[in-house]
Amino acid sequence: MHVEKKLFRNDIILFAAVVFVSLLVYFAFSFNSDSEKNIVEVQYYGKIIAEISLLQDGEYRINESGYTVEVKNGKMTVSYTDCKDKVCTGMLIDENGGEIICVPNKIVIRRETQSSNHNADVSAG
């Protein structure tokens, strides 16, 4: 591969800069988690439909297509999804944080935030 040295150097500099800035932003935002520890909320089409405690083991079915999450030993993982790309099966929520997002199913599961309203009294189970 023949690329002018100056251009090659610029490419690498740009690459290093993008990675550096991205990781900086990532770590800057990952430290300010002031949310409650053990309750997660389930959003479906942007609305909170359930709250689940991470202290209780169990399986929770979220929508009619059978999307199911499992809570075990304080960890929440996805146990069934009907979507094709299975991106969300690699996501988990535990005491260190994290969230589960399934774009095809329009599901977002994350820590309860202080800004969210607490009117949701529906509980899955």
Partner: protein
């Protein structure tokens, strides 16, 4: 458009479609655990189209590849995501390709496109799930996709070099 140009665009479109099929067999998320990360080989064909056939051909590939994917597999979510990412990165590509040979090789241009592709996709994902929490993945996705972008850019450099050696002018179809 001349017939030769239309044919060549169609060839590149089918190439980008096959590349996106092939890359779906490579389990890249097993090595780099970033959700939604893909190698993006299909974008090599877009860059090649822009370089060899011009803007309109590249736009055709950007728009028609997701459409083909939708017809073949019926996955509406991946259609929305790849279309929004593709159009945003196409717009940036058209602007940033002016820096080719002056500031960056295709490596740098491809990184810029990859970053904007990620931004477009994450924005579309946030729109689909109606929650901004998806943006939390943007930094990781940008970092990882700039690596794949660099890889694609270097592949593109090799392609352009081969085409030049084979006697194709830099703008094969522009010249005519």
């Amino acid at each position: 458009m001349k017939t030769g140009k239309i044919t060549f665009t169609a060839l590149l479109l089918s190439l980008s479609f096959s590349l996106s099929l092939i890359e779906s067999f490579i389990p890249v998320s097993a090595f780099i655990p970033v959700p939604g990360l893909k190698l993006g080989f299909a974008n090599i064909a877009v860059m090649a189209a822009l370089f060899l056939c011009g803007r309109f051909s590249a736009l055709c590939i950007v728009v028609l590849r997701p459409v083909l994917n939708l017809i073949m597999f019926g996955n509406i979510t991946s259609f929305i995501l790849s279309l929004s990412g593709g159009i945003l990165s196409y717009a940036v590509l058209v602007i940033s390709v002016k820096m080719y040979g002056k500031v960056f090789s295709f490596g740098g241009i491809s990184i810029i496109c990859a970053v904007f592709h990620s931004i477009g996709q994450v924005a579309a994902a946030a729109f689909v799930v109606s929650d901004t929490v998806v943006f939390g993945y943007l930094p990781l996705l940008c970092a990882a996709s700039s690596a794949t972008g660099l890889l694609n850019g270097f592949i593109m450099n090799c392609i352009i070099e081969r085409i030049t050696i084979l006697g194709g002018s830099k703008n094969a179809y522009h010249a005519k």
